[in-house]
């Protein structure tokens, strides 16, 4: 019950932040240029039709009036209309939601995998401090950290053909599908059976997920290593060793669980980085997610799509922060949520 109250309170606190945030975004978006510029510049367009459209989009009102109209509509589920396709008006909500679903899958897969591998590599590097493995992990982390995501994506995409060739040579093409690794949007994944579906899913997601993982993986592994080293030198770990507890039990049962706590604070920080990674990776791999939608909406001055985009991302950042805090409370019994 306490937990429910806590979640509700946290969400209530974020409401004003979201309201002010959306208003500032609205002002910003309203100044990106004339959304009807493209239509206006076409010769022979009916002036009355443009005026009607202007009225329909509320462009003939002040920013304040437009914001509150937009907010009212938005809260009742009407996210407005997209004008990206010229005169062919599309509702915003399904468009943004479809893109969000694509990106969410990518972001979740990349976050979970980056956390898992980052923590694993960090723990091993700490346990074997100053070993070859430690230096390798450190070098890898620094490289990943300094690498622009889009370059990883470009290289992976560029060499996908070669990788697929290897898959073929190993005789795995029959099992995994040919070509196995996809470099474009996986919208048409038709599979026969569970194994085939898994192979296709992995083939489609592997390269983009790897690209997004790179940066957060580096951050997690460095942080986990530092926190593990600190815990391993703590008195209670020495006590456990003195009692004769086995090495693996000391590491995983005593040290690891406590070393994991500070890493969780990174989760919410990294969420933004992961979303950014997804935006860029999608551009390289031609996925129709939030990234390509953002680029299109900015380039075409599509205000209501931009607003839908911003609100959805803002809400997911708030939710991700909340989830991170809840996990923090679960991992660390000293912090009681509520």
């Amino acid at each position: 019950m306490n937990l429910v109250l806590y979640v509700l309170r946290r969400l209530a606190i974020s409401v004003p932040v979201l309201l002010i945030g959306t208003f500032l975004c609205f002002v910003m978006v309203a100044n990106t240029g004339d959304p009807l510029g493209e239509i206006r510049s076409k010769p022979g367009t009916n002036l009355q039709a443009i005026a009607d459209l202007e009225h329909k989009l509320g462009l003939d009102q002040s920013v304040f009036a437009r914001y509150f109209t937009w907010l009212g509509h938005f809260l009742s589920g009407d996210w407005g209309i997209s004008i990206a396709q010229g005169n062919a008006l599309q509702p915003v909500a399904p468009k943004v939601m479809a893109a969000f679903k694509v990106t969410l899958e990518l972001v979740l897969a990349a976050s979970v995998l980056a956390l898992f591998f980052g923590v694993l590599v960090g723990v091993l590097a700490a346990v074997k401090q100053y070993s070859l493995w430690d230096y390798l992990a450190t070098t890898l982390a620094f490289l990943m950290f300094s690498m622009p995501i889009f370059c990883i994506a470009i290289v992976l995409k560029g060499y996908a053909i070669r990788l697929n060739g290897w898959v073929r040579q190993l005789g795995l093409a029959d099992v995994l599908g040919d070509p196995w690794l996809r470099t474009t949007s996986p919208e048409s994944l038709s599979a026969t059976g569970v194994g085939d579906a898994l192979a296709k899913y992995v083939g489609a997601f592997l390269l983009p997920t790897l690209s997004i993982m790179a940066i957060t993986f580096a951050a997690y592994s460095r942080f986990q290593r530092a926190s593990m080293l600190e815990v391993l030198s703590a008195d209670y770990v020495r006590t456990a060793r003195a009692k004769g507890v086995s090495n693996s039990r000391v590491i995983w049962r005593h040290a690891f669980r406590n070393a994991l706590i500070p890493v969780m604070t990174l989760f919410s920080v990294n969420f933004g980085a992961t979303v950014t990674g997804a935006i860029i990776t999608e551009t390289v791999f031609n996925w129709h997610g939030m990234g390509t939608l953002l680029v299109e909406a900015v380039n075409k001055n599509d205000p209501q799509v931009l607003m839908g985009w911003l609100v959805l991302i803002a809400v997911s950042v708030v939710v991700a922060n909340l989830v991170a805090d809840l996990l923090y409370g679960i991992l660390d019994p000293r912090i009681r949520v509520g």
């Binding site: 910003m28 622009p148 995501i149 370059c151 979303v275 680029v295 991302i313 708030v318």
Partner: protein, 309 residues
């Protein structure tokens, strides 16, 4: 070398109280101590050398280089040769001159972003951490506000608002969504420092808020500010490249490494030099800055005595 090491050893010993007072080395300022530790950090020094080399090359080489970055009179996609070490681009421009100019702009933007976001972050964070109460909650809420939108999306939209992709516009918009981390760190540090006696003493002797913050608090945070400002340069190099890569950052006639990569990455398979040239320079810049930041962190950390490459 030897006397430096012995000095260092004797200094450690003094802290332990094992040496007679007459053996006390001359007192050193924090700056000197930090500098000496940094100079002994092999990786950081090597990185500094590489970075300085890149900076000097990007500034000086264009003065002597045989081709101008504007000259597009060469053959399209000429193979790498003595004349064009990295080949030419699709429109017939020399790749080396493109990379040099891209490096200039990337560094310029990144430095500007780092300075602006550090100043804003430190001022806001120190005010919030020292004044507490209303200022703190106001600054914290504003920080939260700026954190709910990813930097790249906000910068893309803002760049559109300002209407031009000049390098300083890109730097401004990246900085306006890049100060939050430094503000948070500064706030936390100002909070803990303002509990210390020397702040009470300053206040008791009549120092005003402004004086306490900038004469007493900020000098005590110089370590974390320097480290974070350095790391912010590396982040800004990458953020600018990403923004320009999705086509929403720097626009012609200005350029940047991100833009150079955007224009040439399609050639990865057939003309790898066109992609790997700017890519390697970009990675080298951010990698060396990250290593320097790491070296600075070790140098400023009083607990860390052992020097490790």
């Amino acid at each position: 070398m030897a006397d430096l090491n012995s000095l260092l050893a004797s200094e450690t010993a003094t802290k332990d109280g094992t040496l007679p007072p007459e053996a006390l080395p001359e007192p050193r300022s924090q700056g000197k101590l930090v500098l000496r530790k940094f100079l002994h950090h092999k990786l950081a020094m090597a990185s500094t050398a590489v970075l300085v080399l890149i900076i000097l090359l990007s500034i000086l080489l264009p003065l002597f280089w045989k081709h101008s970055y504007e000259d597009s009179s060469f053959a399209s996609f000429a193979k790498p040769s003595g004349e064009f070490p990295l080949g030419t681009t699709q429109v017939g421009k020399d790749m080396v001159s493109q990379i040099l100019r891209g490096t200039q702009f990337s560094l310029l933007i990144a430095l500007t972003v780092s300075i602006l976001s550090t100043v804003v972050g430190v001022v806001l964070g120190a005010l919030a951490g020292y004044l507490r109460r209303f200022t703190d909650s106001a600054v914290s809420r504003v920080t939260d506000l700026f954190l709910i939108i990813p930097q790249i999306a906000a910068a893309a939209i803002l760049a559109k608002v300002f209407g031009s992709g000049s390098w300083y516009i890109v730097a401004l918009v990246l900085a306006s969504f890049g100060w939050m981390q430094i503000a948070r760190i500064t706030r936390a540090e100002a909070m803990s420092l303002s509990q210390r006696e020397f702040v009470d003493a300053a206040r008791a002797s009549g120092a005003g808020t402004f004086r306490i913050i900038f004469k007493h608090l900020v000098p005590n945070m110089v370590g974390s500010i320097t480290v974070n400002a350095t790391l912010a340069v590396a982040q800004a190099v990458l953020a600018e490249a990403a923004l320009s890569f999705i086509g929403l950052g720097v626009q012609l006639p200005d350029t940047s490494l991100g833009r150079v990569i955007l224009e040439n990455y399609a050639q990865l398979q057939t003309r790898p030099a066109l992609f790997f040239g700017p890519f390697i320079v970009l990675v080298l810049i951010s990698l060396t800055i990250n290593f320097i930041g790491d070296g600075l962190r070790d140098a400023f950390d009083p607990r860390q005595r052992r020097m490790k490459a």
